[in-house]
C-alpha cells in the first residue's frame, strides 16, 4: 500500500465504515428475518439458558448473589456480556470463510469482515440489554446512573473480541479446525470466568488468573454498572485488560494482514 493523501485516506475510512454498516445490517437481517420465529429467537435462546441456570443454582443449590441479591440478577448481569463475547467469537472466526464470493470474485477489503461480524453480535447484545434492565427493575433493583458505564465495558469487550476475531478468522481460512477448537476453548473459558459463580468464591485460589483473564474485568464491570451502582476505576485490572485488548488488536491486525495474501488461493 502506498501512502495516500489526507482526503483520499479519509474517504477510504468513510467507504470502509459504510461497508461495515452494510455488512452488519445484512448479517443481522439474514439471521433473524430468514426464520419463521424471527426476532423471537434472539431472546428465546439466552432466556432459556438464564432460566436453566436460575433453576439449578437458585432453586436447586439455593445460591444467593455475593452481595445478597437474588442469584438470577447476579447471573444475568454477568451472563449477557459473556453471550456477546461467545457470539462475536463464533461469527468472527468464520467471517472470512463464510464469504467466499467476496474473497474469490472481487477485490473486497476482507479485513472488514471480522469487525462486521463482531459488530453484528453487538447489535444483538444491545437488543437484549433492555430486557436485563426490565428484569432488574421488576426485581426491585433498578439500575442507577452507572448504567451509562455499560457502554464503556461494551466498547472494551468489542475491542478485545475484534482482535481475537481477526486472528481466528485468518487462521480458519487455512485451518478449518479452528471452529471446533474455539468451541472447546470457549466452553472452558466460561467456567474459568466468574459468570455463574461469584468471584469471591475462588478469589484466593485463582487470584492471578482472575486478573489475567480479560473477561473477568468485563463481567465484573457489567455487574458493577448494572447491579451494584459502581463506576469504573483505573485500577490494576483495567490496566491489565487494556494491555491485553490492545495487544490482541495489534496482533490480530498483523496476523490478518500477513495471512490474507493467500485467502483467494485457499478458499
Amino acid at each position: 500500500m502506498t501512502p495516500v493523501a489526507g482526503r483520499a485516506w479519509r474517504r477510504r475510512w468513510i467507504v470502509a465504515g459504510d461497508l461495515v454498516l452494510a455488512l452488519v445490517w445484512r448479517m443481522v437481517r439474514a439471521r433473524y428475518l430468514g426464520t419463521a420465529g424471527g426476532v423471537v429467537w434472539l431472546f428465546v435462546q439466552p432466556l432459556t439458558q438464564i432460566l436453566i441456570y436460575w433453576v439449578v443454582f437458585s432453586v436447586g443449590f439455593r445460591v444467593r448473589g455475593p452481595s445478597g441479591e437474588p442469584y438470577i440478577l447476579f447471573f444475568v448481569t454477568g451472563f449477557v456480556p459473556w453471550v456477546f463475547f461467545q457470539e462475536a467469537m463464533t461469527a468472527g472466526s468464520s467471517a472470512v470463510t463464510s464469504a467466499p464470493h467476496l474473497v474469490r470474485k472481487t477485490a473486497f477489503p476482507t479485513i472488514l469482515l471480522p469487525p462486521a461480524a463482531v459488530f453484528s453480535a453487538a447489535v444483538t447484545h444491545c437488543l437484549i440489554l433492555p430486557i436485563v434492565v426490565v428484569l432488574l427493575t421488576v426485581s426491585g433493583r433498578p439500575p442507577s446512573l452507572t448504567i451509562v458505564a455499560t457502554a464503556y465495558y461494551l466498547g472494551a469487550l468489542t475491542a478485545f473480541a475484534l482482535g481475537l476475531a481477526w486472528i481466528a478468522a485468518s487462521l480458519q481460512v487455512y485451518f478449518r479446525d479452528i471452529g471446533p477448537i474455539l468451541a472447546v476453548i470457549l466452553g472452558a473459558w466460561f467456567w474459568l470466568t466468574p459468570v455463574a459463580w461469584p468471584p469471591s468464591l475462588l478469589e484466593d485460589v485463582f487470584s492471578p488468573w482472575m486478573t489475567i483473564n480479560p473477561l473477568t474485568y468485563i463481567v465484573n464491570g457489567y455487574r458493577d454498572s448494572l447491579l451494584l451502582g459502581r463506576w469504573p476505576t483505573l485500577d490494576l485490572a483495567a490496566l491489565v485488560f487494556w494491555a491485553e485488548a490492545l495487544a490482541a488488536l495489534a496482533l490480530g491486525r498483523l496476523a490478518f494482514r500477513r495471512l490474507r495474501g493467500g485467502f483467494a488461493e485457499v478458499i
Binding site: 459504510d18 445484512r26 472481487t106
Partner: protein, 439 residues
C-alpha cells in the same frame, strides 16, 4: 498519455501445499523450512494498454488468463513484477461477480456499489438503470440463488457495466444468456468502447474476440507469446490449439481444385496420401481432435486429405475457395450403393450447407468387401470469417439410408477472410442509386 494498465515483468507463482497447515506454517514463519511445490502461472509478462483499447486475451485452459485478470482486478497479488493501474476496474470473472446467493439481486447490486465507494445519491441513480438493463422482472427482488444461469449473467453484466468503470474485464461472460441479451451486451460494449472505456475481453470464442477487439494478447503456459493485431494472434492461437507447426497463407488465385501440373508439393501430398497405409489425418493442422465418429462397422473413413484451390498446405482459408476433399474408405463388407456426403457446420453445430452423392445425383461404383477406395469431393465455399467444421461420411441407400461411418466435425476450417457480411454466407452486396432517367 500514460497507459492505463502497465505490467512490467509480472510473475505469479502459486504454492501448492500437501496440507493447509503447511501453508499456515510458512505464512507465520516465512524463514522456516520450505513445504510447497511451485506452479508458475505467469512468467515475465509485460504489456501496456492505453485508454480506450479493447484487447482480447486468448490462450488454452491453464495458460494463465484468469490469473492475469485476477491480478489486474486485485484479487491476487503478483509474486514479482509491477502492475500499475490508473482508474477503476470492474470485473466479471466467469460466473461469479461476487454475488451473495442468499441476498436479493437488488441488495447485491447495492452492496457492490458500496464496495466501489459510490455516493448514496449515485447509487440510487444507477439502481433503476441496472434493473432495466438486467431486465429480469420480479427476480430482481428475489435471492440470487433462485436465478437461472442466464439471469445471473444478466444481472452481473448489468451491474458491472453501469458502474462506468475505466477498465472493464469480461471473462467468458458472454457465453451465457440468450442471443438477444448477448446482442444487447455487444451493443453496449461497443458504446462503452466509443466513450473510451478500456476493455479486456477473455473468451474461448475466437469469433467474438475478433469481432470485438482490434488487438489481442496470446498467453501460453504462463508466458505472453504474442501481442498484436487480433487476426494474427488468433491465427497463432489456432496453430497452438490444433498443433500446427507453422503458418502459411493459402495462396489466392484461380483454381479448379486440381493440383497444378508440375506443382511438386501438391503432387507429393496426394501421392503420399494414396500410398500411406497409416492414416496421416491426425498429424494435419486442420484435424479436429474432438471430432465424433459414428460407425456401424461396414466401412471406415480411414484418412482424409484436404486442399483449397489446389493448395494442400492449409493454415487458414480466405472463405472463397473451392475445397477438394479426398476420403480414403476401407470397406469391410460389400456395399452395392455407397454414397459420400459432406456438411459444413458452425461452431454450434448448425448445418450451413451439405450434400451427398445421392442428393447430387452422382452414381458411385459398388464397393466390394476388403476394398479401399479413395473418393474425391469438390465443392465451393462462400463463408464469412469464423470457425467452421466439416462433417464427412460414407453412407448407403440400400436397403435403406444408413450411415456406414460419419466423422462429425472432423475438419476445422478457420476462415480468416471477409468481414463484409454478418452471419455465415459471404454474399457481397452492391448498391447503386437509380437516376430518374433510368427508372
Amino acid at each position: 498519455m500514460a497507459p492505463l494498465i502497465q505490467a512490467q515483468g509480472l510473475h505469479k507463482t502459486f504454492r501448492i501445499y500437501a496440507n493447509p497447515f503447511h501453508r499456515l506454517r510458512e505464512a507465520v514463519f516465512p524463514r522456516g523450512p520450505v513445504r510447497h511445490e511451485k506452479v508458475e502461472a505467469l512468467v515475465d509478462v509485460s504489456f501496456s494498454l492505453a485508454k480506450g483499447e479493447t484487447v482480447g486475451i486468448v490462450g488454452r485452459n491453464g495458460s494463465g488468463k484468469s490469473t492475469l485478470l485476477n491480478l489486474i482486478t486485485g484479487i491476487l497479488r503478483p509474486t514479482a513484477g509491477t502492475l500499475a493501474i490508473q482508474g477503476t476496474v470492474q470485473a466479471l470473472l466467469e460466473l461469479g461477480a461476487g454475488f451473495d446467493p442468499l441476498m436479493t439481486g437488488r441488495d447485491n447490486v447495492l452492496f457492490q456499489m458500496r464496495t466501489l465507494g459510490l455516493h448514496p445519491d449515485e447509487r440510487m441513480d444507477r439502481l433503476p438503470r441496472i434493473e432495466a438493463f438486467a431486465d429480469i422482472g420480479a427476480f430482481f427482488d428475489r435471492p440470487v440463488q433462485t436465478y437461472s444461469s442466464g439471469m445471473f449473467a444478466r444481472l452481473a453484466f448489468a451491474s458491472a457495466i453501469q458502474g462506468d468503470p475505466d477498465i472493464l474485464i469480461l471473462d467468458e461472460i458472454l457465453a451465457v444468456g440468450d442471443a438477444s441479451f448477448q446482442e444487447k451486451c455487444f451493443h453496449h460494449i461497443h458504446g462503452m468502447r466509443e466513450k473510451g472505456t478500456t476493455i479486456l475481453f477473455v473468451s474461448h470464442d475466437t469469433d467474438q474476440v475478433s469481432r470485438l477487439c482490434r488487438s489481442a494478447l496470446l498467453l501460453d503456459q504462463g508466458r505472453l507469446l504474442l501481442q498484436g493485431p487480433t487476426r494474427d494472434v488468433i491465427d497463432v492461437y489456432h496453430g497452438i490449439l490444433h498443433g500446427a507447426r507453422r503458418r502459411t497463407d493459402s495462396p489466392q488465385g484461380p483454381g479448379d481444385g486440381l493440383p497444378a501440373p508440375g506443382d511438386q508439393t501438391s503432387a507429393t501430398a496426394l501421392e503420399t496420401f494414396r500410398r500411406s497405409d497409416t492414416p496421416l489425418l491426425e498429424s494435419r493442422s486442420y484435424y479436429n481432435r474432438s471430432e465424433r465418429r459414428i460407425t456401424n462397422g461396414a466401412a471406415l473413413v480411414t484418412d482424409i486429405l484436404l486442399s483449397a484451390d489446389g493448395a494442400f498446405d492449409i493454415a487458414t482459408l480466405g472463405g472463397q475457395e473451392t475445397l477438394c476433399v479426398y476420403l480414403k474408405v476401407a470397406y469391410a463388407r460389400a456395399i452395392p450403393r455407397p454414397h459420400v456426403g459432406w456438411g459444413i457446420t458452425t461452431r454450434d453445430g448448425v448445418m450451413i450447407s451439405g450434400s451427398n452423392t445421392l442428393l447430387s445425383d452422382i452414381a458411385l461404383p459398388p464397393a466390394s468387401a476388403g476394398e479401399t477406395v479413395i473418393y474425391r469431393v469438390d465443392f465451393p465455399i462462400r463463408l464469412v470469417s469464423g470457425d467452421y467444421f466439416l462433417n464427412l461420411g460414407i453412407n448407403t441407400s440400400e436397403p435403406e439410408w444408413t450411415f456406414l461411418e460419419t466423422r462429425r466435425a472432423v475438419i476445422h476450417l478457420p476462415v480468416r477472410g471477409s468481414n463484409r457480411c454478418t452471419g455465415f454466407l459471404d454474399a457481397p452486396m452492391t448498391c447503386t442509386v437509380l437516376s430518374d432517367a433510368e427508372s
